[in-house]
Structure formats: C-alpha cells, structure tokens
C-alpha cells in the first residue's frame, strides 16, 4: 500500500553535491523543498572525528562511506552481445550513499572544462576534418558554451572555496596559473595549496621540458574560509586522508561544510534520510511528473507529489530512474536511436610511478587535491594533426596521502610477494611517487546504459546495465600522454619507472576514478540528447536531470567543477524563467 503525502513544490532525489545546492537556493526563494536520500545522516562531528575517521582499512578498503551494494549495484559487460554481470564489490568507481553523497569522500580537485570541451565535435571538424573522429564516435557539442557557463563556474568556486591560481583573468594570461584555461572573471577565492617536495620536483622538471606547471585547483582549504552562504570552512592540515574519508577539520568542501548548515535551518526544507526513491510518477500522457515514489527504512511506500522533480542522484540513478519511469526514449545502440542511456563515457587514466635513490618524499603528508599539474596535453591545447586521436588530459603528480595498504609501490619486475618484495617496499615507500595521466574519454555507439534483463535490486527492480570499453582514440591518447609523463619523470631524476598507459579491455576491478559521465546527455537536438541546455528533460519538462549524466562525453578533467557550473546554470533558468512560466525552456 502506498501512502500519498501532502504535495510540495520541489523534490530532490538524492542529497549530495547537486541536490543540496538546488534545495538551498529554491527553499530560499520560498518554495517547499523535500530532499530524499537513500542513505543516512552524517556530519563532520561526530562522524568524521579523530581517530576513527582516518582508518585505511575501514574507509579506503571496506568503503564504509559508500554505496551499499547488497541493496543495489549495476551490471557490467565490455560489449553488446556479452552477458553483463553484477559489480558485486567496489572497484573501478565508488558511488556515494548518505547525506552529502560522494562529495563527502572526494578528493577536491576542482576544474573548469576547457572552452573546447563544450564544442568538441564542431571544433574538431573545423580544425581537422571528419577523418579525425572515429566512425562510431558519438561525441557532440553540449548546447552550452564556456562563456555562458563562466558566471556559474565562478559561483560554484566561491561557494566551495576553491584554492588555486588564475591562469587567465579576462583574457590576460597570469604567471603561475594554468595558461590554457578559459578566461575567468576573477581569481579563485583562496590561494593555492602549499608546495610538497613532489610538487616542487615535478614542477621543475616539467618547466625544464617547456611545459607550464601550476598548482591544482583544490577544494581542500588553504585557510579558513567563509562562503557566500555564510558557512565557514576550517583550514586543511595536510593529514593525508582525503579521498575515501570524511574530513575531521571541516576543511574539505562538501555539502556538510558549505551548504547543509544553512539549508537545515531553513523551515522550507525537509530532509528525509533512508528514503530510497524507486520511481518518478508521470501523469497519463507522460508529459508531466506528478512526484516520486519512495520506500523508507521500515519498508513503507510513500508517494510524494511535487511540482518539480530534480534528479540529483548521481549519473547511475539519474539514468536508471528515467528508464524505470519512462522519461524519454531509451537508447537503442543497434539503430542508434533514442537518448536515455546514450553516450556513457568515463576517464582514461594511465600513470607513471617514478622511483628515486637519493630523495625522500614523505608522501603520507598531503591533501586530496595537493598536486602539481600541466595542462599542455589536454583538450585541443596541442596540435593533434597526424596523432590519430582527439582530446587529452592533465598530467600531474599528487601528494594526496600514502596509506600503506594501497600505496607501497615497487619497480616492475619485483616479485609480488616474498623477501625481495618486502625489501623493495621498504626501500621505495618513501622514495617514489606517481604521475597520473588523466585522459578524456569520447563517446561511442556501443558504450551505453540500459536496464539489466536478469539482475534486480532489493526492491525487485532491474539494475542498471553498463556496456563499456575504451576505443583506439583512447588507447592512442593514453599512450601519447603517458610517454610525456615518463619524460617528465626522467627529467625529475627518477632512477627507475613503471610506465602504465591504459591498455587492454576496460576492467571494472581496479579503481580508476568515480568520474562516470553521460547517459542523460545535454544538447541542442532532442534526437541526440535527453535534456536541453538547462538539463531539463525534453519529454517531461518538470523533471531536471542534474549531474555529470549530462556530459555528452568526458573531458580530461575531474568532473565536479563543471557539474557545479551546470547546476547553477540550470538553477538560474529555473529561478528566472521556469518558475514564472513552467514549461519547456528550450
């Protein structure tokens, strides 16, 4: 039996990074907003207090802050025609669960995508011609440009207190910043992070080779910061436990440290935790959502009517709820028609581990986004003529902690266990660091989501099925980038190195990144996009689908800065136009 609740103006499905920002702004404008979150409540105190919150086994290995896969997971296969099987344990990516979402346990590297990224297809065709794109490549323009998004990047960066150095202020290149970035209207709100030994020697080597190193833009605060909502974040202490952990200092920007303290005080907002949304309800002609249905922790089913439904449940459930609810036409990869599930993409990461005999790095010190980067080999910042691929990514050396279960690098050729292994671990633990080649990933016809025919979640509903593999473009790009990284490692004085470009089939086993994109992509044409440039469903205009699910393909950057900008972009359209006259915005 379903209990029908009192209608509200807005419901957000998920209370993570995007859901909290939208709820705060809409509740402030006087609307009644309900946030439904499948996980529980958690906050800096007591949940992230010392010493328990920084336990490598519990959080980094057993994933305590992340999704409970016993209730819901997804299935995976490399290619259409293979049988997809469930992801039974965490591996390649680590979806969040609980208030704050994955933004509780992210690293905080906070980029703007390049102007080029938003116009990938048209700019590639203009500069190189059609031959540069693979025949099955479905990468496209976003329907929005960098210039349109600039004020929204700015708002997100000031909300999350991003620490960095501008490289391009209103068209003027700034020394010490990223000269390739799009023009920004003002500098970051906070100065960049300190320079670790690794940052220093990586930066020096890169500069000697003619690159343009700069400190990564970071959501780990370099000083106490009070954001425009009046919420104050603490200063980072470089403890080295960021990714996969909560922050005991309240120094990593997250919903808890930037938005929730004021949102929770707003009488227009109501948070319901342990509330798993299973469906968006549509009216008879499927042109309007009437609200959502969710199941609570006592197994009770509720219908929450709402005028506006915001899917803010991360890429996977944004797409899955659309498919389960019948919002938009499901993608058919054989015919290449339909849109929901289309253009799933990921990140093409490679790496180089550099070993030294004469240096120590103390890499257990650091912060999630403490990193020295170059952006010379990203987007279209370099000439791709004759290279056989498009795109690129940042290449950087991080000091983001070195917890020893996961970090104990040994030179390739060392046995995997035994005395020799132990000697190498002991010798190199403090004498090695990694360089990441953080590559983009284009979209292709065969890489997509749909509903799995066999496996179900705890509510008996089909799991999301992911079909994905890398393509020639990605292998070539990763090879090219990783060779450059090896040259930098050599220039830095490495005695030995392990060079690992992305090769072979995509595997869901080793962690790569929680930078999943697409499936409900944005665009100017409803035939090739599920949402318009305001992230509004073409088919059901009172549903907005917010997050990296809207990326038509993935750039060479971590996604969240751009997710934040898209969130504010959608918000502005909702506030200034949609609420005045509900209906299609494009």
């Amino acid at each position: 039996m379903t209990t029908k609740l009192k209608p509200v103006d807005v419901v957000t499905v998920g209370v993570g990074l995007t859901g909290t920002i939208l709820a705060k702004e809409l509740a402030d404008s006087g609307l009644k907003v309900v946030g439904l979150e499948r996980g529980g409540w958690r906050d800096t105190h007591p949940d992230f207090d010392m010493p328990h919150a920084h336990d490598e086994l519990r959080y980094a290995r057993r994933h305590e802050l992340m999704q409970d896969l016993s209730r819901e997971t997804l299935t995976f296969r490399n290619a259409i025609g293979d049988t997809a099987l469930p992801m039974r344990q965490m591996g390649s990516f680590l979806p969040g669960e609980g208030v704050g979402g994955a933004a509780v346990h992210w690293n905080g590297v906070t980029w703007r995508f390049l102007p080029w990224d938003f116009e990938t297809r048209s700019r590639t065709l203009a500069r190189y011609g059609a031959g540069q794109l693979a025949e099955d490549c479905t990468s496209q323009d976003w329907g929005v440009t960098y210039d349109e998004l600039e004020p929204h990047f700015d708002r997100f960066e000031y909300l999350y207190g991003i620490c960095g150095k501008a490289g391009n202020l209103k068209g003027q290149i700034q020394p010490g910043g990223n000269p390739f970035e799009g023009p920004r209207s003002r500098d970051y709100p906070n100065p960049p992070m300190k320079t670790s030994h690794v940052s220093a020697i990586y930066g020096k080597a890169a500069r000697e080779l003619g690159y343009h190193p700069f400190p990564a833009p970071s959501a780990n605060m370099t000083r106490p910061y009070t954001n425009p909502y009046g919420v104050t974040l603490g200063a980072c202490v470089y403890c080295g436990y960021c990714e996969r952990f909560g922050c005991e200092m309240g120094a990593k920007a997250s919903p808890q440290t930037t938005v929730l303290p004021v949102l929770m005080k707003n009488p227009n907002y109501e948070l319901r935790t342990l509330a798993n949304v299973i469906k968006v309800n549509l009216d008879f002609d499927r042109k309007r959502a009437t609200g959502v249905t969710y199941v609570d922790s006592r197994g009770r089913e509720f219908e929450q009517p709402a005028d506006l439904v915001l899917l803010t449940s991360y890429v996977f459930n944004n797409v899955r709820l659309m498919l389960l609810s019948g919002i938009g036409k499901p993608y058919d990869p054989a015919a290449n028609t339909g849109v929901v599930g289309r253009n799933y993409a990921y990140q093409t990461n490679g790496n180089v581990t550099a070993f030294f005999e004469d240096k120590v790095f103390n890499q257990f010190m650091g912060a999630g986004a403490l990193s020295m980067m170059i952006d010379d080999i990203d987007g279209d910042n370099f000439d791709h003529t004759g290279l056989g691929f498009i795109g690129g990514g940042w290449i950087g050396a991080a000091s983001s902690g070195a917890r020893p279960i996961d970090f104990h690098p040994v030179p390739s050729g060392t046995p995997r266990w035994g005395s020799e292994w132990k000697k190498a671990v002991s010798r190199y633990y403090n004498r090695a660091f990694g360089i990441t080649t953080h590559g983009a990933c284009q979209s292709y016809r065969g890489n997509c989501f749909d509903l799995d025919p066999t496996y179900r979640d705890a509510y008996g509903l089909p799991l999301l099925r992911m079909t994905f593999d890398f393509r020639q473009n990605e292998y070539r790009m990763s090879d090219y980038m990783t060779k450059k990284a090896a040259e930098i490692a050599k220039a830095a004085g490495a005695s030995r190195m392990n060079v690992n470009p992305r090769t072979g089939k995509y595997s869901i086993v080793p962690y790569q990144s929680t930078h999943n994109t697409g499936g409900a992509v944005m665009g100017a044409d409803p035939k090739t996009s599920a949402v318009n440039k305001y992230l509004q469903s073409w088919d059901v205009p009172n549903v907005f689908v917010i997050g990296a699910s809207a990326f038509p393909q993935n750039g060479g950057y971590n996604p969240t800065g751009t997710v934040g900008a898209l969130t504010f972009h959608a918000l502005e359209a909702i506030k200034t136009r949609y609420l005045k006259q509900p209906g299609p915005l494009a």
């Binding site: 010392m50 010493p51 328990h52 920084h54 336990d55 490598e56 086994l57 290995r61 896969l69 016993s70 997971t73 995976f76 296969r77 490399n78 049988t83 099987l85 992801m87 039974r88 344990q89 591996g91 300190k194 320079t195 670790s196 200063a235 980072c236 202490v237 470089y238 403890c239 080295g240 005991e248 200092m249 240096k359 120590v360 103390n362 257990f364 010190m365 403490l370 000091s399 070195a402 917890r403 020893p404 279960i405 104990h408 995997r416 266990w417 035994g418 005395s419 292994w421 132990k422 671990v425 002991s426 010798r427 633990y429 403090n430 066999t454 496996y455 179900r456 595997s507 869901i508 086993v509």
Partner: protein
C-alpha cells in the same frame, strides 16, 4: 622484571604502541595501573580465533610467512599477527560479503567483470585451504603446514600462477584474496589484530593515524621519522593529542627509525 618493562612487553604483544612520551601521560596512576592489569590479563591468554580451525591457522601461519617473511628488516606477516587479522575479517562483515551484491545467477564471467563467485570470502578460504591441503597430501604426503619451506614456496607459486588446479575455487582467485588480505593485515591499524607492534608501519616509516603536517610538508627532502601512532594509542590515551585529536608525534632518533 620491572612493571614498566612488563607493561611494554604485554602491550607490544597486543599490538599497542608505547610512544616514548607515554610515561608523562596525564591520566591518574590508578587508571594506569588498572589499564596495565587488564592488558596483562589479556596478554596472558592465547588469542581467541573465532572463525579459523586449528588446521586453517597452521596453514595460514605458514602461508603468510612466505608472502611477507620475517627477515633482517624485521617481523613478517606471521609475527605481525596477520593470521589473526584474517580470522577476524572472515568472522566479520568482510567474510560474509556484507554490503556486497550476493544475488545469483553466478556465471564465472570475464576477468574484467571481477568477483563472481557464489562463495563468500570466508567460504573461499575454507574451500581453498582444504583443497590446497588435499593437493599437498597427494603430492607430498603431508599437509601444507608440515611441508619444508621450499615445498611450501613451490605450492604458493603454483597457486599464484594457476598451475595448481583446485577443486572448488580457482587457485589464483584464492591466492589473490590471501595476498590482498595479508597485505591488509600487515599494514592496517593494529586495532584489527594484525600489524602487531606496528611492524608494517615501522617497515616503511608510516606514522599511522592522521596528523598535522601543515608546516613540515614544505620541508623538502627531509625524512620525517616519528613513532607511529595507532587508533588504540589515542583512545587509550597513550599518545598526546591536539584539540582535534591528532597525535603530537614523538620523533625518533636516526638509529631508531626504520626505512
């Protein structure tokens, strides 16, 4: 034997650390004496294994002593209590696949699809150890624990490379799980029963739970050699902490420091 030395010995056996500054703690003498008595009582008892049988303990003690051996660099996995760590993990949520997807069907899948066994990790160990012992019995006339070290090494390499076929689990699947859990047990916080006396952390020079490095991070190429601090050192008030609960490190002399 002085009280202090007894205390050190029993606490070390428990996997707790004694920072050099421990003598200057602010707790009352009474509390200290009480904690000390409790530790001694606990240390006097053998560790209660909760999942593993005696045969399985013998197998794992032998196996982990190859994976991370005791040598001139210090204790190995066996000495660090890794068998006990694995026991505790298999008895708990990890062993029963808590928070993991356990619904069938279970085709074997491709390597890219990862864990597809219908067995929980606890059941994988049970089957893997039994099958490996059966193989050893057939090949050498003895169970794994009773073999000469060179033979044990041979068997482990056979499992690792998949040359030895096991009946109920794929041998590399069992071996990789054992290796991963051994590394976990060697480097995880001692609160889980492994990394006894912080042997793993001392081997690499890892200072343990999160600490404040705001000023040190810009001292380039200067080794940071601190007495490692564990969770229990903080909850048991054996380490001094700042207002947020970060340990205030006791720095080591060069000759005390490991790597």
């Amino acid at each position: 034997m002085s009280n202090r030395r007894q205390f050190l010995k029993s606490a070390a056996a428990l996997g707790a650390a004694i920072p050099a500054g421990a003598a200057a703690q602010t707790k009352s003498d009474h509390d200290k004496q009480h904690a000390h008595n409790m530790r001694q009582a606990a240390a006097a008892q053998p560790r209660p294994y909760m999942f593993l049988s005696q045969d399985e303990v013998a197998f794992l003690d032998a196996a982990v002593s190859h994976l991370i051996p005791k040598d001139e660099l210090g204790p190995g996995a066996k000495e660090a209590g890794v068998t006990y760590f694995i026991d505790q993990q298999l008895f708990g949520g990890y062993g029963s696949m808590a928070r993991k997807y356990t619904q069938g069907p279970w085709p074997e899948g491709t390597p890219q699809q990862g864990y597809q066994s219908p067995l929980t990790p606890a059941a994988v160990y049970r089957a893997g150890i039994r099958d490996t012992n059966a193989y050893c019995q057939k090949t050498y006339g003895k169970t794994f624990g009773a073999l000469a070290r060179a033979q044990q090494d041979e068997v482990l390499k056979g499992l690792d490379g998949g040359k030895i076929e096991l009946e109920q689990v794929r041998s590399p699947f069992f071996f990789n799980m054992l290796l991963a859990n051994t590394i976990e047990g060697f480097f995880a916080d001692p609160v889980y029963g492994g990394n006894r006396d912080k042997a793993g952390w001392k081997l690499v020079g890892f200072p343990g739970v999160a600490a404040v490095y705001t000023s040190f991070i810009e001292k380039h190429n200067v080794p940071y050699k601190a007495q490692p601090v564990s969770i229990a050192d903080i909850t048991g008030r054996l380490a001094k902490v700042d207002e947020y609960g970060h340990p205030i490190h006791v720095m080591l002399d060069d000759d005390q420091a490991g790597a």
